[in-house]
Structures are given as structure tokens and as C-alpha cells.
Symmetry: C2
Subunit: 147 residues, 2 copies
Amino acid sequence: MSEKTSNPSEAVTSAWTSIMRARERLLASIEADLKAASMPPLAWYDVLWELARSQDGKLRPYEIEERTLLAQYNLSRLIDRLEKEGLVRREAFAEDGRGRWVVMTDAGRKLRERMWAVYAKSIETHIGCKLAENEAKTIAGLLDRFL
Amino acid sequence: MSEKTSNPSEAVTSAWTSIMRARERLLASIEADLKAASMPPLAWYDVLWELARSQDGKLRPYEIEERTLLAQYNLSRLIDRLEKEGLVRREAFAEDGRGRWVVMTDAGRKLRERMWAVYAKSIETHIGCKLAENEAKTIAGLLDRFL
DNA sequence: TGACGATAGATGTAAATGCATCTAATATCG
DNA sequence: CGATATTAGATGCATTTACATCTATCGTCA
């Protein structure tokens, strides 16, 4: 009859708060490193990275949306900013008049690489240094259960 | 001589992206549940919870800041909103003219409890259901290394 | 075909956030 | 003591985000 859901255990609750806090702390550290290197925010990297790893350096907005988990309206405006900086450009999508391509420019590729140099070091410093290989795998394995 | 930091391993990088994505997804689900129940955002809960668990139901802003990882200027304005809703009130801190107390009101206590009913169920549904007890402990243990 | 609902993406407006800076009070140290 | 530095917290302003809605196009089905 009743939609009974038992309350979360102590361990589950503290797993959740650990996820929130770890992410908060780590993101702040990494963003700080990027900023210290005069780089744009991490969200820019995420989009550029999805484009870089795609087949032709171009994706539809909705594809980027799926891969980055950005909200549609946020992505739309993020693309505006990237475009304004010359890192991507929008092109028509012939097969569907509603669609667009987001195409990475050379400047976009270059910036992504420069960002990765900083970002990679930052990941290693803040995360890699504190985890054994198998621990990192454990984290990824368990957390991917939520995707 | 050189500040050599080796690049992060595949496993470390994917641990990081897993943290980001899991948090993103879970937070979105939980916030959606709260909103569906006409409740304020999770950040309100975090502050109210810190107040509720404190000795006298009151804390200094900087204490809340430390415990929630909110930025000082964000917290200051969040307290504005809470105060406007009658959930907390600011009081003078006698021992230091610069300081303030943030005092939880009865309405604040009540709301926190109502929020917890929703929040707890949400945690259990989205997280608890997908983790064994020892897995939850593993996550918390590993992620707390970053705090 | 043509009406209708669904989908891709953009956008106006309000709210929240980030950044820099400000005020007021306290601590430090010559 | 008095000048200076530091700390707690607030705030003006620009940027970003959330929410709702809009436009344009497409797919479906009578």
C-alpha cells in the first residue's frame, strides 16, 4: 500500500556527502589552477574535449549536451561564448533545418591542448597523488553506477 | 630542477570524471525531488542542518562557511534569503563587534525536518538502493581523503 | 495534403554566483 | 598609545544560471 522507502543508512548518507564535498573541493582547486594559468573555466574544456574526440571535430548541440550533462539553455549560451572567442563556430546542419553543427576551430584545438597541460597536472596533483591505482579504479567503478 | 609532475593515469582521470558526473546526476535528481515537493534548494538544507546540529542552534557565519564550503559572499546572501523567509535571524555577537550569530528559528527547524523527510527518501532512492553497505563505506573512505 | 504534436535550439527575464571592494571592529607591534 | 595590518561580514557590479517560453522545422497520421 504505502510507498515505503527505508531511510538511508549512515554509510550511504556519508557516501553522498563525501561525493559532494570531494567534488566541491577538487573542483575549486582545479579551477583555481586554471585561473592561475589564465585559462577559461573547466566547462569550456569539457565542450572542447568532446569536440576534439569526436570524429570530425564537430557535434550537434544535443550531442554535447548528452555527453557533458550541461542543460540545454546553458550549453546554448556557452557555445555563444566559445564562438565569440573564435574557439568554435556554428554551421548549418543540412539534413535537418532545426539542427546545427558546432565545429571546433584551430584556435579551439590549440586552447584545448594548452588547457590539458594545466588540467592534467592539476588532476595529478590533487587527485592522482592521493590515490593508488586500484583505489582510483574502485572509485570510478562504484560511482559509474549512478550514470 | 624541474617541477615534474607525471600525467594522471587513465584510472585517476576516470575517477575524477566519475566524481563530477555522479555528483551532477545525483544532485539533479535530488534537487528535482525537493522541487517536486515544493521545497527550497539543497543549499538551504545544508545551512539549516549545520545550525540544527550545533549546540545552541546558532553559529557564526564563518563557521557555517567552513562546514558547508560555501563561499563567504554566497553564504552572506544565502543567509539574507533565509532570514527573509524567517528561517534564521542574525543577532549581534557580543564578544566581537564584527561578528554575528546566525540563529535558527522554529520555522527553520520545522522546515529542516520537512526537508529531511524528502531528502532522506531521495538519498535512499537514488543512492542507497544502488550501493551495498560496504560499498558506501568504501566511497566515503576514499573520497574523504580529499578533505 | 494538412493539422497537430514533437524536437532542436535560442532567448527574455529573474535569480544566483563570482569578483572586487568596502566598512567596521579587532589584533599587533613599534 | 597610535599606526598599521588583519579579520568578519556586507555589497556593487558583471557574469552565469535557471526557468519559462519562443521560433522554426520536422514527423505523424487522418
